[in-house]
Amino acid sequence: MLDLLIYCLLGIACGTFCGLLPGVHPNNMVPVAIGLMTALSLDPLCAVAFIVAMGISNIFISYIPSTFLGVPDEGTALSVLPAHRMVREGRGFQAVKLSTTGCLLGLMAGLAFLPLFLLFGKEFYGVLKNYVGLILIVIAALMILTEHSLSKKGWALLVFFLSGLLGLVSLSGRLCSGDAALIPIFTGLFGLSTLLIGLQSSKLPPQQDKNEEIKLNPKVLGVGGFIGAFMGMLPAVGPAQTTVVAQLATQSSTPEDFLVCVSEVNLLKVFYSFILLYLIGRARTGVAAAVQQLVEVDMITVFLMIGVSLFAAGIATLLVLRLGKSASSFIPRLPYKLFLTLITCWVVGLTVWFCGLVGLPILATATAIGLLPPKVGVKRVHCMGVLMLPVILGQF
């Protein structure tokens, strides 16, 4: 028992490390961790505890760099714009608190829906898996149709297709490995493009330290939890698409609701990927694939992973509150332009490290496309065409 707790804590430490370093994902650590565990003949349950704790805590922590530095991954991509906007209003810590609350309460909502999921999830998957392409087309259409004017709908369609074309070219695996290409794609579409707009101002405003209350919309939490749980099982349906559906279902439009919803859905994608190993035997995330390599998941392993997730989520929440507060007081004091330049160098370096020089044109193109939505006044979610269009075309 004590060994499991120690490996949970090690996993949380590792997840925190990956979460704080922009552009570094637990998937980059998984091969190293599995190799090390096999070499040490580690108890597989300890290895599972380590990986689950790393995956869950990473989701919580990754909202700190995505909020203050504007460097996202697939899960935090949609949160960057509203969160960074709050940073520019001096409410960065509030944005981090909203994301953390979304993650923690999302886990609880996910647990509440678990019996339903275990009872009907398999049948639900059996029906929906044949219609993934169609579901994505409906989601894309809804995303575009929610823009207000005809010209904006046209721009949204253009952004969707441009992003989709970028996805088709860069995720084909011909330029570099598909997983590695995600780094310049998401950094460009959602990160660098936000940072470049931020460069127009000389510094970040001082962040408010007052204990602002977190306003929660139970409808967002409930619907987000339900949709997040069930849509996570579909291949190629990521947190972004699920958030769009949840937003449409709840009709909420405030940035606070959006941040809670996107972080809830993002956490549930990872949490339910562990449950799906038991239910359908398919890994939907990198960390779940690692667990699948280590053990045959049965009901007891599911309970063990629930325990680890709850423990890691609790500790990660406390860590985020502490680290988020420090970041909100520290980052505004830095020379903003120099800081953004350093972050840009870091992400460019990461791109070259993971993709080689071919990553640079991907990053430049993604940044250019990512600059379009704020300039023409449409939502940045249309950039998710980068994943959706290749999957839609692959289904037909």
Binding site: M1, L4, L5, C8, M37, T38, S41, L42, D43, P44, L45, A47, A49, K97, T100, T101, L104, L105, L107, M108, N211, E213, I214, K215, L216, L294, V295, E296, I300, T301, F303, L304, I306, G307, V308, S309, L310, F311, A312, A313, G314, I315, T317, L318, L321
Partner: protein
């Protein structure tokens, strides 16, 4: 919701997590059983520990006979996908195996499903002068082959190995390996006509080593 409430919620979440983790780890960890009771636990997940007494190869699969202190044994089939994830091992090494208990042709067996269910503890060759401490146990010795006697039946050999002392090794079969230079012999320490000898139990228990 206030920040303080969030902190309390996180703390409660951690505590519940530890409780669930504790309960599930008790249920998830297989029962540790003695080798002689494996057949009574048929169908259940168990964990056994013992010394590798025999290693048999069959294509890409390996069959290990695991012995306990009281000469009870179970067979551990290491199918190719499990075997490929394991490092080197030989007779005399210790092994901890987690897997499904059962019987095959009335022989008790524990079947691991992944390489991580098997943990091997390598042991070192013992010095011939301390052989008496290992009576009735599996050991490894190594040394230069000084003499090879063929027994009267012609179906077994007796080797004399030299390594800071002489040690007799009984090989109850005609080995395929060339017995020249230095060899490593792994087997059971027995007493025969007042003298200690190592009885090699399988072909894999005798192998030439590079000088």
């Amino acid at each position: 919701m206030k920040e303080k409430t969030l902190v309390w919620l996180a703390a409660a979440c951690s505590v519940v997590g530890v409780i669930v983790l504790c309960l599930s780890s008790v249920a998830a960890r297989p029962k540790q059983v003695e080798l002689n009771s494996v057949s009574q636990e048929a169908g259940k997940m168990v964990e056994v520990y013992g010394t590798i007494g025999e290693v048999r190869f069959s294509g890409e699969h390996v069959f290990v006979k695991l012995y306990g202190e009281d000469e009870n044994w179970v067979e551990v089939p290491l199918f190719s996908r499990v075997r490929s994830g394991l490092g080197e091992f030989e007779v005399g090494d210790k092994m901890r195996v987690r897997g499904k208990a059962g019987t095959y042709k009335n022989k008790p067996q524990v079947v691991p499903s992944t390489a991580s269910d098997v943990r091997i503890y390598r042991t070192s060759p013992v010095s011939p002068e301390f052989l008496d401490r290992y009576l009735g146990r599996f050991v490894k010795v190594q040394g230069k082959v000084r003499k090879v006697h063929q027994t009267a039946s012609g179906k077994s050999l007796l080797l004399e190995l030299e390594n800071s002392g002489m040690v007799k090794v009984f090989v109850p079969f005609i080995p395929q390996a060339t017995l020249e230079g230095a060899v490593r012999a792994c087997g059971l320490v027995k007493e025969y006509k007042g003298e200690l000898e190592i009885v090699v139990t399988c072909e894999a228990g005798l192998k030439p080593i590079n000088a």
